[in-house]
Amino acid sequence: MFTLESLLETFQTGSGFWNPIIWVVAILVAFLIAVILRGFGNKEYKKNTGQTQAFLSGNPEYEKEQMHIKSSNIYWGFTESLKWVFDSLKKMHTGNVSDYALWFVIVMAILFVVLIVGENLVGAI
């Protein structure tokens, strides 16, 4: 079962393929190249000076809490341009267990219509 060959096999999907081992080897080699290349660079900087302060266009740094952008502000551009989608989604999640049961009944009704009424319609056509 666990021969060397089976470990190196290419993963076939029928329309494509992917060989993780070759990729990993290539990544390791490329990583080595990148590290060597990076090694040519200057690795020094002056610790604990003004250099290491966060850049705020010359303004003094805020408190640490304020320097950390809150997660609800992340992806503003994305949520802003699709605002109507997210607003209606939020409205859908009421947190009320009756609504959960109602959705169940609705889905049952839809499935009923699709599978039984729809089927008869298709049969009629």
């Binding site: 329309s15 494509g16 992917w18 060989n19 660079g41 250099q51 551009g77 994305f78």
Partner: protein
């Protein structure tokens, strides 16, 4: 598969990766120089010499490599490396210079799609990990841009694969089979329009993939001071610089491989070394043309978009456009096969 074969493959991977890395970095910087020179001329400036990007890299290597105190050092330093490494690994699967990919049966289009995410992801994580508000804003914008352009990009890739599978091609996600069956050869008139639309959309996606104007709001120097690169300097910044160069080559090669996989050598009936030389030259010219249209021209011609405008542009007009392309191609397959121009041509005796 015995030990000899395995070691042969391993050697091929190692040497191939080294060669491709050098190739990608060199031409990435060359094209960057050409791009800068051309855009300067378009704006009526003289512009830097073409070897300027090389000098830039050397300059960055001599600068101090500052790790800000708010950053998490190991992630901050690792991110630029990961980006460069992932970008180089894409070159393994792309047909470059008119040749087959180095590993034709080992990776496909979806893999390339995913590997293309990694450099952007590395920039995002690098930006987040630098602990600066500017960088954070830039990073989250980059991520939003990424979600935005990935929608039309997925449509393009899946459409091409679907069309090929209808043609009875096997392994439709392999770039080698796409190169063997260029889309223009199998498309009817309606499909031709569809593929033109998809090409157009892909050309517009490229600047966003490379964070170029008008989709460079993650880096927007004028408003958020370089965005996710704010805190990067020295050799870390140089790594991102190189990544950008290699990624330009990768994106252009991808467009070439998807839409223009033709070679000149069969036309002239060349073989062996002259054929290689002609093909490589032709490939470099194609890459140059793609970069000219999708990077240089667009970035000179238009101004930067706001981040919500970017998301809107990609999710509404461009997605609809590429869906139109998809529908054209689907119709081409179903309708045109029966009632299209092909029967007309046959009647006229052209085919």
């Amino acid at each position: 598969m015995d030990f000899l074969q395995i070691s042969q493959t391993a050697m091929m991977v190692i040497i191939g990766t080294i060669a491709l890395a050098l190739f990608g970095i060199f031409f990435g910087l060359v094209y960057k120089g050409i791009d800068r020179k051309l855009s300067a001329h378009m704006q009526g400036r003289i512009g830097p010499p073409i070897r300027q990007p090389f000098r830039d890299v050397v300059k960055l290597f001599t600068k101090e490599n500052i790790v800000p105190e708010n950053a998490i050092p190991w992630i901050f330093n690792l991110a630029p490396l990961v980006g460069l490494v992932a970008t180089i690994s894409i070159l393994l699967y792309l047909p470059l210079g008119g040749f087959q990919p180095l590993f034709p049966g080992k990776g496909d289009l979806i893999l390339i799609l995913y590997l293309l995410i990694i450099p952007s992801l590395a920039m995002v994580i690098g930006g987040f990990s630098s602990g600066s508000p500017y960088a954070t804003i830039g990073a989250q914008r980059e991520m939003a841009t990424m979600i935005a352009y990935e929608f039309p990009l997925a449509i393009i890739i899946i459409t091409i694969a679907w069309r090929l599978s209808m043609q009875g091609v096997t392994n439709v996600f392999a770039l080698s089979s796409i190169a063997a069956t260029p889309v223009w050869n199998i498309a009817g008139p309606l499909g031709f329009i569809g593929f033109i639309i998809l090409l157009l959309v892909l050309v517009i996606i490229t600047p966003a993939e490379l964070s170029k104007i008008p989709f460079d709001s993650p880096e927007a120097e004028t408003e958020i001071a370089g965005g996710l690169l704010t805190e990067y300097s020295g050799r870390n910044l140089a790594m991102f610089y190189l990544t950008d160069g290699v990624k330009t080559v990768v994106m252009a090669s991808l467009i070439v491989a998807l839409f223009f996989p033709y070679n000149l050598s069969p036309l002239f009936g060349l073989e062996s070394y002259p054929a290689f030389a002609v093909d490589i030259a032709f490939y470099l010219a194609k890459v140059f043309l793609v970069i000219l249209f999708s990077v240089t021209l667009i970035r000179v011609a238009v101004a930067r978009l706001k981040i919500d405008q970017i998301v809107y542009t990609y999710w509404v007009p461009l997605t609809l456009l590429s869906l139109v392309g998809l529908i054209c191609i689907m119709w081409d397959q179903t309708i045109m096969a029966n009632f299209g121009l092909q029967p007309v041509f046959e009647m006229l005796g052209i085919v």
